[in-house]
Structure formats: structure tokens, C-alpha cells
């Protein structure tokens, strides 16, 4: 059986399906879903975040003691022993 409809993602990350397909489903049933598209509601937030990142990138002067940052820099800590 194939049912095509739209579902809304709730703040709890549950899926709320349209009324026209709701009657075909029953609580507890498992259904296989395929997402055909996602309506991005976050575009404005994304653009604002991008502007913020650009601004920070332009103004931030870290003053790196060693120009060559390595992965070890993120993990080495002389104050602890693990």
C-alpha cells in the first residue's frame, strides 16, 4: 500500500500527518516513510547565521602562537594525565 501525504515535524520531533491520511493509520502501526522534500523553514535563520559567521571571521584575531595548528593541539593537555 502506498499513501502520499504531507507530515509536519512537531517540536518533539514527532510527525503530525494530514487529516486526509490520518484515518488510514492506526496508533502503534509501523510505517515506512520516504522523505521527498523538506520545506526549509530555517532559511532566514541560516542567512542571519551566515552573516554573523562572516563578521566574526573578518574581525577575529586569535594571535596563534604556532601558525601550524594540528589535531594534537585540540587534545594535548599537560595539566592532566589520561
Amino acid at each position: 500500500m502506498q499513501i502520499v501525504g504531507v507530515a509536519e515535524v512537531t517540536p518533539e520531533y514527532n510527525l503530525k500527518v494530514d487529516e486526509n491520511i490520518k484515518y488510514k493509520l492506526h496508533p502503534g502501526e509501523k510505517v515506512k516513510i520516504k522523505i521527498e522534500y523538506i520545506e526549509y523553514l530555517k532559511e532566514e535563520k541560516r542567512i542571519a547565521a551566515l552573516e554573523y559567521l562572516r563578521k566574526v571571521s573578518h574581525h577575529s584575531k586569535l594571535g596563534l602562537f604556532n601558525e601550524n595548528i594540528t589535531r594534537e593541539d585540540a587534545h594535548r593537555d599537560f595539566s592532566t594525565r589520561i
Binding site: 530555517k42 535563520k45 541560516r46 542571519a48 547565521a49 551566515l50 554573523y52 559567521l53 562572516r54 566574526v56 571571521s57 573578518h58 574581525h59 577575529s60 584575531k61 586569535l62 594571535g63 596563534l64 602562537f65 604556532n66 601558525e67 595548528i69 594540528t70 589535531r71 594534537e72 593541539d73 585540540a74 587534545h75 594535548r76
Partner: protein
């Protein structure tokens, strides 16, 4: 879609660095094209370095680092996390790749790419990723 390595995030935010211009260009190009994937390892390493006064004269305050990372969530198309399958795969091949010490993080990133079918990586650390045949493209800002 591209994985971005930690060093790119650092240089993109170090405007006096010789790598800043090229790193920030490729970083923002990828965001504009909506092809950015951020891995949890990269976020944790970025936070660790950017707030470390032993690595730089002007480390970020915790609040600034938190805010920046929150904005990264908003621009990334995907956030990737380690899982049991990735760990199993990665540790199965640690001897083949002679993985020791901090190289394990490169290795976990590489096998996360394999698991999620991501073939492109941006890093200044090209030599440590070239050995993974499933990484098809390594972009190095120059």
C-alpha cells in the same frame, strides 16, 4: 557535500593568519552552496582550541565559542555523530593504517565519511587523509 576539518574553522577565524583568506573563502563558499557537513569531533576540537590561552594570545570567551557553534548548527546542512557502526569499522582498520595517538581522530573522521557516503573533505592536513581511498577529494586552501 563536504566535511570541514577543525583547522579550517580555526584559520577562518584568525584574520591575521597566512591561511585566513584561503580558508575562509572555501569555508564560506561551501556554506553558500549549502554543502557543509559538521562532525561532532570537529566541533569539540574547535571549542577546545579556540578557548585555549596556551594556543593563542586572544582566545575566545566560552560564551563567544558557544554562540559561534550555535550559528554553525544553523548553516550546516547536516551534523554528523559517531555511532557503533563507525567505531566498529574504524577500529577494525587501526592496524592496517598504523593508527596511534591523536591520529585516531583523523581515522574516526575518515570512517564517518565512509559511513555517511561523504567523499569530499577540506583540510590543511592533507597527508593524513590521502591514505583513505574512499575519500575522493581533499581540498587544501593554499
Amino acid at each position: 557535500m563536504y566535511y570541514i576539518d577543525t583547522n579550517i574553522l580555526i584559520y577562518a577565524n584568525s584574520s591575521e593568519s597566512t591561511f585566513h583568506k584561503s580558508a575562509s573563502k572555501i569555508f564560506f563558499d561551501i556554506i553558500e552552496r549549502k554543502e557543509l557537513i559538521i562532525h561532532e569531533i570537529v566541533l569539540a576540537e574547535f571549542f577546545a582550541v579556540i578557548t585555549d590561552s596556551r594556543k593563542m594570545r586572544n582566545p575566545w570567551a566560552i560564551s563567544q565559542a558557544k554562540k559561534y557553534i550555535k550559528k554553525l548548527y544553523d548553516v550546516a546542512q547536516e551534523l554528523h555523530f559517531l555511532n557503533m557502526e563507525i567505531l566498529k569499522m574504524a577500529f577494525a582498520f587501526t592496524e592496517d593504517f598504523n593508527i596511534t595517538r591523536y591520529n585516531i581522530y583523523d581515522h574516526l573522521l575518515a570512517y564517518s565519511m565512509k559511513f555517511f557516503n561523504v567523499e569530499k573533505l577540506v583540510t590543511l592536513n592533507k597527508k593524513d587523509f590521502e591514505k583513505y581511498s574512499f575519500i575522493k577529494e581533499i581540498c587544501v586552501p593554499t
